[in-house]
Symmetry: C2
C-alpha cells in the first residue's frame, strides 16, 4: 500500500474490538493497517463448541482479509507486535516498523494460572482454535482409552472423570456440554464401559457459579447443571494439579481430563506501553479510552480497564469490546473533523450464559430469564452475531442436527503425534490398582 | 465384549474396504472387531478440498464407532497393529493380542517418494486429514508471506509459484483447485502483490496426465487445466527437491509451495504376512482375495494386488476396495453356511476425475464425457457416497456457496508452532536478490 498522505491508523488485534473498529474506520479517509498473529477472526463465544466436537473450526472463524476485502485503503498483516515506540509513533513487529497517527491496541486476554503455569500441560485453557482442538483431542481420547482399559482382577473400575475448574460462563458451558456428550452422544457406542456413568465435576473457588449474575440466576444455573448431570462444588480451592489428578481442598481426584476456565490475564502488550496497568495487566485508560499522555493511542476490549458509571469495572465480554471499537472509530472521525471528544459509556443490553441443551440464564436489566427460552434467545443472538452468512447457515444446521439426534458433528481426533499423545494420556488417566482399591 | 463362542472376525483398517466389509459382516452371527489408528473414517476423494480450504475436516470424516453403533456384536478399537501370528491366528497390536477365526487386512496405502524420502518435508503428500491441514497451512501462508515480502530495489519480483508433482487424479485436482484459489478466491484481498498473477505448474513424468483414462480424455483434461490457468509439463522428471525449489529436467524452479502426488506405496503391514508382495508392497492375493496358505486371511483394497479378467492390475480406487469389502463379507457368510467360495470379479462402473470448477472427465465403458456435465456427475456421485446425512447437507451448502461466490469456506491457518513454521516458510519462498536477477 502506498503512503498517500492521509492519516495512518494501525489496529493491533482482530478480535471483536479490533475488527469492529476496523470495519468502521475503513470508511474514513485514512490508511488503515490491521495486524494480527492469526489469519482469522475467531468467534470466541462458540469456541467451547469446537472443544466439545459440536462445530468445526471453519464454522466459527473467518479470514480477516476476506472480511475487509472491499476496502482498498485497508491492509491486513499477519504478524506479531513486539514493541511500541510511542515517541516516534511506531509499532515494531517481528519484521518491520509501522508508522501511525492513531494506534488502537485490542490484543485481548489469554487464560492465566496465577503463578501455577506448570499446571497448563495437565489442565489446558480455551482461548484459541488450537486450544479448542487440543481439548477436543483429550476429551475424545479419554473415551477411547476407557474402552481399551484392561480389567484388573479384584478392583473396582472408576467411572470416567472430567473436571472443569472455574465456574464462570466458559466453565459452565464446558461442564454442561461434557455432560451432554458423556450421557447422550456416546451412548451405545462402547462395549467395555458405560459412557453415561461418566462423572463431570465443576469446581468454583467462590461461593457460586456465574458470579456476575444475580444470586437467583446462579442458583437456577446450578440447578440446571445438576439436571444435566454435573456435580458442582463451590467455595473449594484447587491446591495442586498433577498428571491425571486434581487436588481439591485436600482430596485427590483422579481425572481423565482436566480443563482450566478459572481466570484470564490481559495480553502482555499492555505492559509495554509504560503506563499504569491493574493487577491483571489491563491498561487503566482515560474516559475516552486513550492512554495517559498519548491521546492518539487507544486501548479497547479485554486489555482495557475502565469503570462504568456506578464505579464497577466493565466485564471482559464481547459487547464491551464491540461498543469500544465502535466508539474509538467515532472518536477518530471526530478528531479528523476537529470536533471535541466525548467520554465512552457502556450500554449494558444484558447478559446471557448457556449451560447446555435447553438450559441457559439471561439477565436483561431487572428482567431475568432461565431455562428453555433463555437458551433459545442465546441460540438466536449467537447466530445473528456470527460473522459470515455461510457460517450462520452451517451452524444452524449443525445445531438443528445435534438437537434432534444428540450427535456431535466434528468428533475427530487429529494431531500429528497422535499415538505418542495417546500413550501419555493413558498413563494419565488409567488409575493404578492401588488407587482403585483405596476408593 | 464377552466371547460368546461365535466366530471372531478381525478387520484392520476402516477405509472404504474395511468399513464396507464391517457393515456387512456386522449382520452375520459373528463377533467383529474393527481396529484403526484413527477414530474416524476419512472420505479420501475429498481430502484435496480440505487441503485447499474448501471443506472442513469434520465434513468429510465420520467417527467409526458412530457408523457401527447399531451393532452390539461389533467392537471398535483405536489401536495400531504391529504384527500377525498366522499360526496362532492372532493380531498383535501395540497393547494386546486379538484372536480371530477370519482376518481382513485393509490398511491401504500411503504416499511414496521412491527412495527420496528426504523430499517429504519440502513436498508433502496427501493421505490423511493431518496431511491436508498441513498443505492448507502452507498454501494459505504462501499468500500471507507474499503480502509481507519486502521490495528489493533493482530486482524483478517473482510471481507466487505453486508446483504439483504427479499428474494422476490427485495432482490434477490439486493443481486445478490451486489455480481457482489464486485466480479467483483471493482477488481484491491483497495490497502488495497480485494473487491472480500466481503460477501453478503441474509436472508429470509420463507422456500425459490422467494416464489411466483414454488419450482423448487426457488431452481434454489438459485443455481444461490450461483454461483454469495451470501450466502442464509432461515427460519431465523431478531430479531434486530442496527447501523452496524443485529441479525439473535440469532447471531450478523457485517455489512457494511444492506438493507431492507422484506415487503411493502399500501399507507396510503387507510385508508382515510372509507371503509374496509386488514391488509396491501389495500382497499378491488368490482369486478369492485370501492369501496363499491361509484361506481365513483376506487382503483387500489398496493393499491387495490382483489382475482383472484381461490381465490388467486393478486400480487403487475406492470402488475396487468397496466391492472387495462386500465380496469378502459375502465369502465369510458362505463359509459359515459351508457353501463353496467363488472368485472375485471387479465390475468397472466407470471412472471420474475432477479438474476444477465446472471441469472434469468421465469414462463409463466406451462412453466418454468431459467438461460441465462430467463435473456435475462428479458432484452428485461424491455427495451420494459421502458417509452421513449431515455431512452431505453441509458439503452441498459449501459447494453451492463456493460456486456462487468463489469463496473458500475453511481458510484457517492453524498449527501450534505457527510462527516458527512461518519463518521457515518465508526462507523457503523468498527468492534471494541474485536469484531474481538471474531470471
Amino acid at each position: 500500500m502506498r503512503n498517500d498522505g492521509s492519516p495512518r491508523v494501525v489496529i493491533v488485534g482482530a478480535g471483536f474490538g479490533g475488527l469492529t473498529a476496523a470495519r468502521r474506520i475503513a470508511r474514513l479517509p485514512v490508511q488503515l493497517t490491521l495486524i494480527d498473529r492469526r489469519n482469522h477472526h475467531t468467534f470466541q463465544p462458540l469456541l467451547y463448541q469446537v472443544a466439545t466436537a459440536g462445530l468445526s473450526p471453519g464454522e466459527i472463524a473467518a479470514p480477516i482479509r476476506s472480511i475487509l476485502r472491499g476496502h482498498s485503503n485497508v491492509e491486513v498483516l499477519l504478524g506479531e507486535v513486539v514493541e511500541f515506540d510511542l515517541a516516534r509513533k511506531q509499532v515494531i513487529t517481528n519484521d518491520r516498523e509501522l508508522d501511525y497517527d492513531f494506534l488502537i491496541i485490542a490484543s485481548g486476554a489469554t487464560h492465566a494460572y496465577f503463578g501455577h503455569e506448570d499446571w497448563e500441560p495437565y489442565a489446558p485453557g480455551l482461548k484459541s482454535i488450537e486450544d479448542a482442538l487440543e481439548i477436543r483431542r483429550r476429551v475424545l481420547l479419554a473415551f477411547e482409552l476407557a474402552e481399551r482399559r484392561k480389567k484388573v482382577a479384584g478392583t473396582v473400575e472408576l467411572p470416567l472423570q472430567f473436571v472443569v475448574i472455574g465456574g464462570g460462563p466458559t466453565g459452565v458451558e464446558l461442564a454442561g456440554t461434557l455432560a451432554e456428550i458423556a450421557h447422550h452422544a456416546m451412548s451405545h457406542e462402547f462395549r467395555n464401559f458405560e459412557p453415561s456413568e461418566s462423572k463431570i465435576l465443576l469446581i468454583e473457588g467462590g461461593p457460586r457459579v456465574l458470579a456476575t449474575y444475580s444470586e437467583e440466576l446462579s442458583r437456577k444455573a446450578e440447578a440446571q447443571l445438576h439436571r444435566l448431570g454435573v456435580e458442582v462444588r463451590t467455595s473449594q480451592m484447587v491446591t495442586k494439579i498433577e498428571p491425571g489428578a486434581v487436588w481439591v481442598s485436600g482430596e485427590r481426584i483422579p481425572s481423565a481430563v482436566i480443563l482450566w476456565a478459572a481466570g484470564v490475564a490481559a495480553s502482555t502488550l499492555g505492559r509495554k506501553l509504560g503506563v499504569p496497568v491493574d493487577r491483571a495487566g489491563r491498561v487503566l485508560v482515560e474516559p475516552d479510552l486513550s492512554i495517559p499522555g498519548h491521546n492518539e493511542v487507544f486501548v479497547i476490549g479485554d486489555l482495557a480497564a475502565l469503570n462504568d458509571a456506578n464505579g464497577k469495572p466493565l466485564p471482559g465480554v464481547a459487547p464491551v469490546a464491540i461498543q469500544q471499537g465502535d466508539w474509538v472509530a467515532e472518536t477518530i472521525a471526530r478528531d479528523l473533523k476537529k470536533q471535541p471528544r466525548r467520554p465512552f459509556h457502556y450500554r449494558d443490553k444484558g447478559s446471557l450464559a448457556t449451560i447446555g441443551r435447553a438450559a441457559a440464564v439471561a439477565q436483561i436489566g431487572k428482567f431475568e430469564l432461565s431455562g428453555y427460552f433463555a437458551w433459545l434467545a442465546w441460540l438466536f443472538i449467537h447466530i445473528f452475531f456470527l460473522i459470515g452468512f455461510r457460517n450462520r447457515i452451517l451452524v444452524m444446521i449443525q445445531w438443528a442436527w445435534s438437537y434432534l439426534t444428540y450427535e456431535r458433528g466434528a468428533r475427530l481426533i487429529t494431531g500429528s503425534d497422535e499415538l505418542t499423545g495417546w500413550t501419555q494420556s493413558q498413563e494419565i488417566h488409567d488409575p493404578s490398582p492401588s488407587e482403585l482399591h483405596s476408593r
